[in-house]
Amino acid sequence: MKILVCLGNVPDTTTKIKFSGEGTKLDKTGVQWIINPWDELALTRAIELKESGQVPVEVISVLTVGGTDAEPTIRKALAIGADSGYRVDADPADSYQVAFQISEIARQEQFDLILCGIESSDYNGAATGSMLAEILDYPSLSAVSGIHPVNGHLEYTRDIDGGRETVTLDLPAVLIVQKGIAKEPRIPAMRGIMMARQKPLTVKEPGPSAGYTEMISFELPAPKPSCRKIDPDNVRELVNLLQNEAKVL
């Protein structure tokens, strides 16, 4: 089985977000980039499957759509345990463009199982995985919280209202995974870091899609108003504020 894990290259969650170009661009100065946390867990689970030996995993590849500044993210994935990496040399523009670029590589390389995090921690579009499955015309499963080897094949679990369902899929397929798919992301060990430099990282030219979305402007959320304490005896003031200022009553 060939597994592809799609990696988003996203700002570290503690990044102080700033904009440039009068609010039309994200200011990337000083931003520390990380693997999108959902994708990192997907990678962790893929490695666990390979290591378990309960299903034959021939190779785990990772793919990112991005410029050269995304390569440290790919190499970290290689250090964690992926076997090979791909970078599609294009700035990620929107979910469709990213899904399209992934689909081109997925077709060329004939992956059996494609894992995508359910969303990315930067734009939280939650659309790439589904779009990818549609473009490839592969079956897909969303919000997967468990991948289990059973008698040499895989079963998947999803949390549903009031319980959990277990399903199987014909391969090739796209799995859109959520947190819980693996317990903790792995920390790259020294040996993995040393080996990462010898693993293949292939740069691919982008396919013919620039996406459908035009970014018009960014703005930061309004700063949170400071906390106000109201005397417990003054319920009238509390109701007044909730009704007229917070407008929640």
């Binding site: 102080k16 000083g30 390569e71 920390i187 790259p188």
Partner: protein, 593 residues
């Protein structure tokens, strides 16, 4: 690593260095950054959530953490690949030490294991000893400790009384004695123990295993800080040590102890940078949260001053740590390719003894300032054990004591420099005599170049001239008795330390600007301005302290004239400069330089 002019320890005092010849942290490659991130991820996942448990010495916790660090390969970074390590450069090891240096008691256990616990065997062990012990230390299967200090032998390490006597059958050394302040003693499997064979004048070193009969351990010491670090006395009662466990031959112990301490001092410089950055983050985050008089306290000038000073001192230490570490790598490489030496890396460390001692003292005192002001920024809360800065404060104090006290290291800085001059490793005395001779020809004021970096470079050069003139004056005056004038030696060492660290800051800022351009480097120029302003002020005072302690009449007059000439510096609006240094820290809410 590219070739450059041969570096020699202490040479910075007699010649200029180009920015191209120094390594700056901004040049770390992707792989090194990944190693640093692995160290940080390990701390975030395993160590920081358990700081209280570590300080309570939860049974097995510290040893378990070292085992986990070993599984990630972090214990073998500096060990050769053939012994299960990763054979990384000194500078990469220092980067890992910096990150892990923020981890309070774990940092001490880690440093002890990977440094003094492992490196005596790595550098001085024979093939059999390395195969048996080093491989297990590198992977973390076994933990290491280093037993040098005794109740009557602290700074004067060679006066230890632990004794080794060869058994009648010649198969064992019988060890008797006592060691104290032994880090990792509670769980270490391998002990490097220093003892004198028969009535030798100097020490020998032995490898002991914990389970050798006759070794007993006192309970844990109650300490002011690093409470989670295991520290015990160890007693050796007729311990039979196989003769093959003698390390590097009879009488080699003191040489081993000193060499390992050179390395440990440089490493301590890296450790304190990590600890300082963590304390700065606590400081700014509290200052941005805490409101008084309706404003965040980070908006007040007094707080910005403290934050800026924390940054400046940390930046200067960091600049010097990586400059010195890179020089160790270069020297080691040179010894490997050009010269024949038994151990290139340890010879290179020994060569950088002056810089290592500078970093031990300057770094530990910089951290002392950072944590002290971290508590102050927190106000009353800083005095509460609820806040992390309380632990930062307590844990930092030991850095001025271990790896040789700062008093010993201050003497080492100037004493080693003078010895290098006597041995003609560097042309110190010629330059010192020339500087002293120039005193009578100095104009009232120096002519200053227009260009910013030319001026700063000139100032550093002037400070060196001042130091050299004082070296000449004091060595002439006191001759062999200079060693008994410790206060004056301390003055000279303080001058040398300020020169090395402020020059390192200058070279780093200059290099950053050449990489990123002037507009992106404004804050760095502010740091350089204030660093040099402060260093010049401190050097002026140290120089006057020294001069007033020994010189009189015409000589005093001439030396004071030199002080006035050689301490001319730029007029800096330090209030505005410090505010500009504090601003990015406050905006980012963390140390990002």
């Amino acid at each position: 690593m590219q070739n450059k002019t041969t570096v020699r320890g202490g040479r910075f005092m007699v010649q200029a260095t180009s920015p191209a010849d120094v390594f700056i942290p901004e040049e770390f490659n992707e792989e090194q950054r990944m190693i640093a991130q692995t160290c940080q991820d390990f701390l975030d996942a395993e160590v920081f959530p358990r700081l209280d448990d570590i300080d309570h010495q939860e049974e097995g916790l510290m040893a378990g953490l070292l085992t986990k660090a070993g599984e990630l390969g972090l214990l073998g970074i500096s060990v050769d690949e053939e012994y299960m390590g990763f054979g990384q450069s000194v500078i990469t090891g220092m980067l890992a030490s910096e990150v892990l240096g923020s981890a309070h008691s774990f940092a001490v256990a880690f440093s002890c294991h990977t440094g003094i616990g492992t490196l005596p065997i790595a550098y001085y062990g024979n093939e059999k000893q390395k195969a048996k012990y080093l491989t297990k230390l590198a992977t973390g299967e076994w933990k290491g400790a280093y037993c040098l200090t005794e109740p009557g032998a602290g700074s004067d390490a060679n006066s230890g009384k632990t004794q080794a006597v060869l058994s009648e059958d010649g198969q064992h050394y019988i060890l008797n004695g006592q060691k104290m302040w032994i880090t990792n003693a509670g769980f270490a499997d391998v002990l490097t123990v220093f003892a004198k064979i028969d009535n030798d004048r100097v020490l020998s070193a032995f490898i002991l295993e914990r389970n050798f009969p006759g070794i007993t351990f006192n309970p844990e010491e109650n300490k002011m800080g690093i409470k989670g670090s295991s520290t015990r006395q160890i007693f050796f009662n007729d311990v039979r040590v196989p003769v093959e466990n003698l390390l590097a031959g009879r009488g080699q112990g003191f040489r081993i102890a000193l060499s390992i301490l050179h390395m440990g001092r440089l490493k301590l410089g890296a450790n304190v940078v990590g600890a300082a950055k963590r304390a700065i983050n606590h400081s700014v985050q509290y200052a941005n949260d805490r409101k008084q008089f309706g404003e965040k306290i980070s908006s007040f000038g007094s707080i910005q001053h403290k934050l800026a000073e924390q940054v400046i001192k940390t930046f200067a230490t960091e600049s010097a740590v990586y400059r010195a570490s890179y020089d160790v790598d270069l020297l080691a490489q040179e010894y490997k390719t050009v010269c024949t030496t038994e151990n290139p890396t340890i010879t290179a460390y020994a060569h950088m003894a002056i810089e290592s001692a500078v970093l031990k003292v300057f770094g530990s005192e910089a951290l002392g300032y950072v944590v002290d002001e971290a508590v102050q920024i927190h106000g009353g809360m800083g005095f509460s054990s609820e806040m992390p800065v309380e632990r930062c404060y307590r844990d930092s104090r030991i850095n001025r004591i271990f790896e040789g006290t700062n008093e010993i290291n201050r003497i080492l800085v100037i004493d080693t420099l003078l010895k290098r001059g006597q041995k003609k490793d560097i042309d110190l005395y010629e330059k010192a005599e020339a500087a002293y001779g120039s005193l009578t020809q100095l104009a009232a004021h120096p002519v200053l170049p227009e260009a910013y970096y030319d001026r700063k470079t000139l100032f550093i050069g002037h400070l060196k001239e001042l130091a050299l003139s004082l070296i000449h004056a004091t060595t002439q005056k006191f001759q062999r008795n200079l060693i008994f004038e410790q206060e004056i030696l301390n003055n000279l060492s303080d001058i040398i330390m300020n020169i090395y660290t402020s020059e390192s800051t200058l070279l780093r800022v200059q290099k950053i600007e050449s990489m990123r351009g002037e507009s992106a480097s404004a804050v760095y120029r502010n740091i350089l301005d204030v660093t040099l302003y402060e260093a010049t002020g401190e050097i002026l005072r140290s120089a006057m302290d020294a001069i007033n302690s020994f010189a009189a009449g015409e000589e005093r007059e001439a030396l004071v004239k030199g002080v006035n000439y050689w301490t001319v510096s730029d007029i800096v609006n330090v209030k505005e400069a410090r505010r500009r240094i504090a601003m990015p820290l406050i905006e980012e809410n963390r140390y990002t330089l």
